[in-house]
């Protein structure tokens, strides 16, 4: 297997504070990689560097062999990198269906004139895209709520909608930022099987930030632990990570 995402020598600082210190990471094709660590460890910063929101001081981020650094967020998204946000960022006043349809629009093959006149390919393309979006909503279990306003959905469903929206990009790499946040044990169990299902269905490579250790343990093939922007441990053996003294100290504090 080759690496879908390969990060090396990544450094980032904000106002003199090192947010990420010599970070490196390899995510294998079609694997699920967990990124864990205490609050403020720099996990979301890593996501923001991958998706082009921040430009790092140095380092390289290769996605399927192509450099991502220096590209704009929308270019990276269109290359096949979908993401969700820690504090959900939907299009709140638009309907559930519209949220998903908008995301699939990079390959809307109709011209400006066709858009202004609604002639030519317009109708066919729009219908196809709406059907595609409805299919994705069915995948995440929102097919009966497509007309509701996205902002008024319950929290858990908003998270699912955000995933559906990311899937509409037809991504090959999916970045999930705390998908289980605010969920109880039962809900997070449901989430585990859901993520496994979409991973198989769309042949996705997934990198996820998560605090719920049971979610991480049951889903992830590899785990990276981050603290103060530095890697504490990186392994595919969860038991080993749990025993690692540096990790224990970071989570529980010095005894």
């Amino acid at each position: 297997m080759s690496a879908a995402l390969s990060i090396s020598n990544l450094n980032q600082s904000f106002g003199g504070v090192r947010a990420i210190d010599d970070f490196h990471l390899n995510v294998e094709q079609e694997s699920i990689h967990g990124l864990i660590g205490p609050n403020g460890a720099g996990k979301t910063t890593v996501f923001n560097v991958i998706t082009g929101i921040y430009r790092p001081r140095s380092g390289s981020v290769l996605f399927e062999g192509r450099e991502l650094i220096g590209r704009k967020p929308f270019e990276i998204a269109n290359m096949g990198v979908g993401r969700t946000f820690q504090n959900i960022r939907l299009f709140p006043m638009l309907s559930v269906l519209e949220n998903v349809v908008i995301a699939g629009h990079r390959d809307a093959g109709y011209s400006f004139v066709e858009a202004l006149t609604h002639l030519g390919r317009y109708r066919r393309v729009v219908r196809a895209q709406c059907d595609h979006a409805r299919g994705l909503l069915a995948t995440v279990g929102l097919e009966h709520r497509e007309r509701e306003q996205a902002g008024s959905l319950p929290y858990g469903l908003q998270r699912r909608l955000e995933i559906a929206r990311a899937l509409a990009l037809r991504p090959r790499l999916l970045l999930l930022d705390e998908p289980a946040a605010g969920m109880n044990e039962e809900e997070s169990l449901g989430l585990v099987s859901f993520i496994r299902e979409i991973q198989k269905k769309f042949s996705l490579t997934i990198l996820m930030i998560e605090h719920h250790m049971d979610v991480v343990t049951s889903l992830c093939h590899d785990i990276t632990v981050l603290n103060f922007g530095r890697i504490l441990a990186q392994s595919s053996d969860i038991a080993e990570i749990k025993k690692n003294p540096a990790v224990v100290e970071a989570y529980l504090g010095k005894e």
Partner: protein
Amino acid sequence: MSDYTQGVIILVCVNAVAVLGVSILTGFTRLFSFGNAGFMAIGAYASAILTKQYGWPLACSMPAAMFLAGIAAYCIGRLTLRLKGDYFLITTLGFGECIRVALDYAYKYTGGPRGYSNIPHYTNVYLAIAILIVATIVARNFIRSKYGWHLMAIREQEVAAEAVGVDTAKYKLLSFVMSALYAGCAGVLFAHFLRFINPTMFNLDKSAEWVITVVIGGLGSLSGSLVASAILTLLPEIFRSLAEYRMLLYGIAVVFIIMLRPNGLMGYREISSYFPRRLCPQAAPETRK
């Protein structure tokens, strides 16, 4: 129809066309511009000079004038759209004022502050209505296409819009240029209706009035913008005695609408099914609780 009635109808059409542009920009993209009267000025002066000085027919001068307004918006937008919120707003305001100053200064060609007169009379009530109808159809189709949807994505959540592959810089620029084309078109109609224009007709108050109209009509509603511009142009004509209270009532209306009905009279809704609220065609009959 009396001349007076025709005049009022033409004024409604002129304002409505410009307001449609502001509606695309402010209602659907949530960008604020206090410089759109500047684009109207470019359209008005360009068409006036081309027809009077160079004998162009309206059919050529109108696209040319709109094109010039669009080019101006493209250049300004390229420079300033990356600025955030209020920083962008103030540069549009600056642009509008600069156009005014430039028109004063280039008096050899524009007549300066004394104005430009004897413009050929081309705008009649039928042309104005026809243009408004075309402008409405184009705006409606534009909003209901990938372009409009991307603008709404930017309005709702800019970071997320980028994350789902929307080139926000490009689409903001498109929105700005569209609004300038509409303002330019309104300017052309206006110049060939009044037959006399001067720079102060296109001042900051004009731009602000359009923004206010869009807010009253409802951000994110094309039909709301149309209705509001009709009401706000007609009311002072109907209640002649109220004319001096017009701007006062405008101001009060804005304050109370934004406090009590923050989405405007028609926020996010459309009056007629000609402007469908939903982007997607209905699915096969669905089972809903």
